[in-house]
Symmetry: D2
Subunit: 394 residues, 4 copies
């Protein structure tokens, strides 16, 4: 690695931050049941503590995404408690996530429900989330709208577009000056015929109608198989419409596996599109982890994920943009591919380790997690409360 390359990688690592989700430290599962972990977090205090440990080890995870229903059940009244946790642990509240899927009234939809009354309640929850964001000084409200239907003919997709627009417009109207509303899309699950915001095109149109502070949120697991996700990223950057990412990996559907576990080359390509875009320098794209690593140890998986993200980002930073552009212009396919993929082939673990050392961070975050006291302590402390299980399937 040349000195220039090393410098580029270090600069990339210095600028790389990724948000961890509070729910990534809690027990999760599938509809067939949850496998419980002794060290899983139950309270928001535990989640902040865990997030702080991830940040301590990696230096790249200074914020934690909050889920209103689970982390601030008291709404605005819970903000001081969160602020106390921020002060105590040195990590900040990140994006605010309303919950539009769990209340029994949302059976046939939340902000796109045919009932005006239910829509109003759902919008109120979104506006409350915006207010929480304001109070916490948090920039982004992440709108995952799980609305949809299971059977052809049972709902009017056409009229629901209008309800959806109206609801999102109202939420946007509540935003403060520095806030953003990120509109997420997903092709299916938990509904299986139509999902009201099913792809980036729909999210983009809704964001455009809602207003200038609305952007699109790309969850890497929310695409049909085969979709060229990096191309969507490039389009959204081109349109100045990319708000952020929910990172995870998958082999089939929204599997919510850890980043880079199934197709690391794709993550590299996504990072490359970001880095090579002029938009990347503006600092307007939020990187967030959204996984449901229900088999791997929660903290272990989170540290592993941040480390993998750093390494894949470092690989992407290695691409010689200028040389690549020339080869692309001349349509020298094999040479361009070798230049591009050569960066992916490069083993960046040594240079990332040097950077960690220089920055006073753990040089072996996973090893130190296992060797340290924190994981042992919480495993012992929390084991009792982690029992039970149960299945949503029947």
């Amino acid at each position: 690695m040349t000195a220039e390359e090393t410098k580029r990688v270090w600069a990339a690592l210095d600028g790389f931050k990724i948000e961890v989700p509070s729910w990534g430290f809690a027990n999760t599962g599938t509809r067939f049941g949850k496998f419980l972990q002794p060290a899983a977090a139950s309270t928001i205090a535990q989640k902040f503590a865990d997030a702080a440990e991830v940040n301590r080890l990696t230096g790249a995870a200074p914020t934690v995404a909050l889920h209103v229903l689970w982390d601030l059940p008291g709404g605005l009244a819970d903000v001081p408690a969160i602020q106390a946790l921020e002060a105590k642990h040195g990590v900040k509240a990140g994006s605010i996530n309303p919950n539009l899927f769990q209340d029994q009234i949302y059976k046939f939809g939340s902000i796109a429900n045919p009932s005006a009354e239910i829509r109003a309640k759902a919008v109120q929850h979104c506006v409350d989330s915006v207010e929480i964001g304001k109070a916490l000084g948090s920039k982004d409200v992440s709108m995952w709208v799980s609305d949809g239907s299971n059977y052809p003919g049972t709902q009017s997709m056409r009229r629901r577009i209008e309800w959806l627009q109206d609801s999102l417009n109202k939420t946007h109207a509540a935003l403060g000056p520095g806030q953003r509303m990120l509109v997420e899309y997903k092709p299916f699950e938990p509904t299986f015929y139509h999902t009201d915001i099913a792809d980036w095109g729909m999210a983009r149109e809704l964001a455009r109608t809602a207003g200038p502070q609305a952007k699109v949120l790309v969850d890497t697991g929310h695409h049909a198989l085969g979709t060229n996700i990096e191309q969507i990223v490039t389009w959204l950057l081109h349109l100045d419409a990319l708000g952020g990412f929910h990172f995870n990996d998958r082999k089939f559907a929204d599997d919510d596996l850890t980043l880079g576990s199934i197709d690391p080359y794709q993550v590299f390509r996504i990072f490359h599109e970001f880095i090579s875009s002029p938009a990347s320098s503006k600092g307007d794209v939020a990187f967030m982890i959204d996984q449901s690593h229900n088999m791997k140890g929660k903290l272990e998986a989170m540290v592993q994920t941040v480390v993998t993200a750093q390494e894949l980002y470092a690989k992407a930073a290695l691409v010689d943009q200028e040389k690549l552009a020339e080869l692309q212009d001349r349509c020298e396919l094999v040479a361009a591919e070798e230049a591009f993929r050569g960066a992916f082939w490069t083993d960046v673990r040594p240079v990332v380790k040097e950077w960690r050392e220089a920055r006073g961070l753990s040089v072996d975050p996973l090893g130190d997690l296992h060797a340290g006291e924190y994981l042992k302590t919480i495993t012992a402390e929390r084991a009792a409360s982690n029992a039970g299980g149960g299945s949503s399937y029947a």
Copy 2:
């Protein structure tokens, strides 16, 4: 419709039976939560009562599949209670379904777990299920093995094949003379990198090794998108290896929607392959419903499903096999397709209604369900116990 065609349809309807699952009357959901229904069944007594109502209305659902963990938590000791319900309601226990996914010890697998101890426990549960089947005079034990792994490299797919074979061989060895072991396959969920029994080829090999009473169980939702399911059915019939079906429909993954709700032409084609095979006359293929219609009313969805199945089966019975074979042999594509699809275009609802009337059944099962007392009564009775909800996601 000619008299000959009417006769064919009536004969088909007389022979058509489809099993309902006990869990199809209970509340189910997705990992994001359950939407509870006032009339959902909680106890096995309620499930038998509901199944009897479906059979009363349709005349085609004389058996109910049982799930050992949920319906016979006491194991063999619960058999007399089941028999009392059979006697009371006039529907019989159908296939027996062990549960290999819910116990916390199954986190890394059940009968394919690397731990010999856990495998032994799982096999014991299977053998217990076989014994329950014997005691109830039930023919089939349906083996859905959800084992697998989430991340490349974390388990040895190769060694797990051997453990799987060993476990299934032991289960087969416990079968009584009239019993069968049906081996189900599924490409993914609840594991997302590899599933130990992922396709019909694997299920077929395992059944072959296990012994002559082992057959393959085809769940119509357990295939990659695009898969020609009717071709797999034809192959299994050709190999005398088809044990039965778990019917449901889907648009994306294992959506567990009601049969015929997304792609009714495919159901017609599957029925056609069955009817046109010499194997169909042997009565060895079990038709079972396996859905998780968590939005539709439980009883409503089940009655609708049986009626749709009857109608699609009647359409398939309308195909003129002899004429079709001739056109196929001459490669007269358009004529063959018109002959085939013409049966699907035919509105069989009138002839099915006539058949219902002649057999003394409800001529409008869905209408009579709504007009009758049963649904009203259970809705009132059960409402109190159906509260709560909750999500497996976080």
Copy 3:
């Protein structure tokens, strides 16, 4: 069927027109070779004659889509010849299709090629196509841009967006007052890593930038498996951005099979979204067939397709919109589905036959095609010129 329903179906059939493609009468194949047909058309005169026969039999196919490279190799100079064919056969030239994929200079792209010189040539071809459209009084120029790349890193997706926009803007600028530019999208093939216009979101953005006469063209075979195509249709109608359809069916990829052959229920749902939209009355959505039925007889397949389209459209017209909307609003899922699917179950062949008779059309188009002289004559006349074959694979 009530008198009101019959009236609705007749009105729907009176308004239903679908364009046939000139290339649908010619020999086509796969990369593995062409299977030649004795009656296939080679010349534009033959294609017009065939199209006229389809229209004579069905009364629903008054226009024929033209492919500039194959049908007007002389460009504008060929317009009088086309006009003579229109006059002779009583069918009109329909949409104009430039060819951006066959010339050797398009190896690395046409209007998105890194070479400014090649882009200029491709744009000139598009502008020429616009001029042909003007001269023929044809409304739509259909832009299928097959540009893309096969390997990650070999082309800059980001910069190609700008080239694409520039080229489409220039083409739009050439449009006359009554003309439209329809932008088609496709996820893959003939390129296999990225396609520059890969989904409706990209097509929509490009059309928006190009100008008010640019709309999106939906080819039903150009989506990832599982995509809810009818929802995209609804969105485009909502945005007043739907220009037209290329109809065909498929099981896997862009299989180009005949409409309704694989999933007729989906075609019904697409027609339903169209009919139930206020936009449908404006007459601005072009229905076009785009198939490559290389196994079925060319004329046979085309007549069969138009008839199937008429029947599925009649089924969609049967849906009671008002009743359905009420049931949807009340979230009565099963009742709504039955109302919706009931229209699909209805055998409309008799009522369509009555309509044909009343309109003085053939009551059995396929039967009359086979019984008539036309097919026999062309089969004899053209057989000699249809020989050869060959594969693009190696």
Copy 4:
């Protein structure tokens, strides 16, 4: 890298051989047309010369797969010419590939055609291919049977199984003692409703019925999206039924892109399953390239492919099998994954280069190809004959 690891990699590279296909040096394309290359090979002499150049540069490609129709149009009579080329160029004829898709009589199938006469002709071609294999001392006959149908109902999938079995049995009967028949499978293309040999389960059953010298051929591009290919490989190895691979990569369908260009981690996993199986030491699994890199330069792409295959194989050889098995047994998921994926992260290019040097091979095969005389010479010599083009689409 430890000395032990280096030794392991060198041993792996010494044992690694991969066959190149003669058609990989010729112009190919899609149904939309061929983009012609000046250096493409047209004659079998040119293909042998190109294959020899690949082998000279990489030391890993000593055999060339032959396609009977294109390379030995004279059948057995062409064998001496092939032998002369073997002698001249120092590369041997590899697998023999019959052609069952190009002749006009195969429109509705070859060895599964309803016509007994056409089946007999197709079987004769297979038997001729076996005889060619005997004469050339070639081990494998690769049976890619493209038979299938495009529309439901138009062919009897059931009866075609029997015809298929009969044809394959007859071909197997013609095999000499050292020969094998490899049965390939593919889900779709060139037929789009059903393919007679659609998945590994069908290929496996047909091979079993045919006899002990029949094995399954896995083309990595012939699976539904999401399929866990390495698991199928493991199953086939377990069953002693894996005959060989056709390697290529893809993003969507059977894209035939160069190996490792889309998902290199998957190739690594496939190699890992092979290496970790006891069956790998028997030398019975043929590695073959089957790509249609119609954009990349033919020779360039082939050299690049062999080099990439060597590097990914070296990575797989780096996995510490013993340690991995222990971690898997203890279900230490993250540790197991890190051990596994760590081998993939390792940059093996330096160690492969050392090995090349030690073996007297080019240390930079792609660079030397470009720097050398061979490519320049053939580009000049062949340019004249590479003109034309044409599309199969219309």
